[in-house]
């Protein structure tokens, strides 16, 4: 009896969790394989005709292959901004943790401000126009770096505190210059937290909707989340295509989650608790 209780409780919880958390995803997948008439019913009935492949082709071809362009744009934005984030945030976190200076309190304040303060949207657009970065992919990359720096710096600072200073000393004795010390000795040691950073930030940036909506308008610059938003109005009578699109956009984070779920959970909680 004593061993049975946790098992029963586990089963009940599992069922409840499945209903609450899994049903919506099941719903997405189910609608995505239905035909137009089936999906317009919006219900859980088993599809009379599954047309996974047909829906896939239709969604990809919609609006001159807009989804492919969006995948390309989102990937470029994600890869470059995460690369920038990792290098720049690690540099800040490293010096911030290692060297007590009068700048530290300003940097710490800026990090907190970056987490709390909502970005001023229209002034940012105005500024981007002045420097010629509005509606450009590289402008978007720089914006993503600026907005997500704080979180990455927090993760790095906390982790660097656990890297012994003796290693710095040893490298200096061997004649390493600051840049060499950082890139050849320290950065490789930060690999666990770098993986966490890459995973968490790439999901956040790939899923970002608000910033591309403001700073990256125009149909040549669509990102995956924007296609979803555009399709919502276009496909209001073609739910099967809309849900196929959601499914396609959800797959990359899903894959990342399956492989890195430990790092994601660790990173999100560590960053949160230290913040």
């Amino acid at each position: 009896m004593k061993q049975l209780r946790p098992a029963i409780l586990g089963c009940i919880t599992l069922v409840v969790f499945c209903v609450i958390f899994v049903v919506p995803f099941f719903f997405i997948a189910l609608q995505a394989v239905k035909d137009r008439q089936g999906s317009s019913l919006l219900n859980f009935s088993w599809p009379s005709e599954t047309q996974l492949w047909q829906n896939l082709v239709d969604v990809v071809q919609a609006r001159d292959y807009q989804l492919l362009l969006a995948y390309f744009n989102s990937t470029v934005i994600t890869v470059f901004s995460v690369t920038g984030l990792v290098i720049f945030a690690a540099m800040v976190g490293y010096v911030l943790q290692r060297r007590p200076s009068k700048w530290n309190k300003y940097v710490n304040f800026a990090v907190l401000a970056g987490l709390m303060i909502p970005p001023a949207v229209v002034p940012t657009i105005w500024l981007l126009q002045q420097i010629g970065l509005f509606k450009t992919i590289h402008g978007m990359i720089l914006i993503e770096i600026a907005y997500n720096l704080s979180f990455s710096i927090l993760l790095y600072r906390a982790f660097i505190a656990t890297v012994p200073r003796d290693l710095d000393e040893a490298a200096r004795i061997d004649g390493a210059k600051p840049l060499q010390l950082f890139f050849r000795v320290i950065l490789p040691l930060l690999k666990p937290v770098t993986v966490t950073n890459i995973v968490v930030q790439s999901i956040a940036i790939f899923n970002d909707f608000t910033n591309p909506l403001y700073y990256l308008p125009g149909k040549d610059n669509v990102t995956v989340q924007l296609t979803l938003y555009n399709f919502q109005s276009q496909f209001s009578t073609q739910y099967h295509l809309l849900f196929m699109n959601i499914l396609l956009v959800t797959i990359p984070p899903l894959i990342v989650f399956i492989f890195f779920n430990k790092q994601i959970v660790e990173g999100m909680t560590a960053g949160a608790v230290k913040g």
């Binding site: 946790p6 098992a7 586990g10 919880t13 599992l14 958390f21 919506p24 995803f25 719903f27 997405i28 609608q31 919006l42 859980f44 720049f88 540099m91 490293y94 010096v95 290692r98 060297r99 200076s101 940097v107 800026a110 970056g114 987490l115 303060i117 909502p118 970005p119 001023a120 949207v121 229209v122 002034p123 940012t124 105005w126 500024l127 720089l142 914006i143 770096i145 600026a146 200096r172 004795i173 004649g175 600051p178 950082f182 899923n207 909707f209 608000t210 909506l213 995956v224 979803l228 919502q232 809309l242 959601i246 956009v249 959800t250 984070p253 989650f257 994601i264 909680t269 608790v273 913040g275």
Partner: protein, 297 residues
Amino acid sequence: MPTAQIEKKPRKTSGSPYPLWFFLPAGVIYGVLFLVPTFASLYFSLTRWNLFNSTFIGFENFLSFVQEPFLIKGLINTVIFAVSTALLKTIIGLALGILLTSNIRMRGLLRTIAFFPILVSTIGIGITFAVMMHPTRGIINVSLELIGIDGPGWLTDPTLALYSVAFVEVWRGVGLASVIFIAGLVSIPRDYYEAARIDGATKWQQFKRITLPLVQPATATVMILSFVYGLRSFELIWTMTKGGPGFSSDVIASVIYKQYQAGFYGLSTAGNVILFILIAVMVMPLVAYFNRREVDL
């Protein structure tokens, strides 16, 4: 012999091994793209502005926020949304955290399931729930009908729309909250509970006297995080209701976007400044409160 080398080498090659210019690349990007617009917003919120020229009009924009009914509505809704989601995420998150740290089976799987929604695009979630909350054909109301309940128009009833969106936000974020609580709960030493049990403390007493005070840092984190997130929330509201029906579920973030689209850039920026002030005014006391409580322990 090695000590002599320590003395000589580093001093000569360069000043510190931790040069301050390492702050520079991040600092420039952050300064130009975040700080400059933030400071500029303080000025532009006081103007009538069309991106090319701006006319100074004093506090007129801010006055409209407290006079125009649809703007006041946005202000109130923002607070309601942030408070209700933060409270629910904290309470449900703590409950799930306790459940998932007990000796229940399949803990890992359950944690993964609850955590997953936070990773899916908010837009996708918004669209999915908007469809499921369809007043006549949505599965929520169809299921309710099966057990004889006439479900309301979750997103079409003006008194209900905001809360329906808040519910989805809680659904989305409660997994992260519970994972933060789990991290806090497992750090409480088991001996405390054992000692309390020997002294004859009931489950409720153990929860009140041990769990609740010692999980405090996690509570503070969850509350503050969800509160700030709730105040800034835009994506879910925009995909599910667009602030409607009417202005009944507008929040400041959606007002900012609407005014931007309509070309009222000064008013939109004033919305930004108000949101900033709101966060400062409401979150700072929360932070201070939790800091004081922690010292007391």
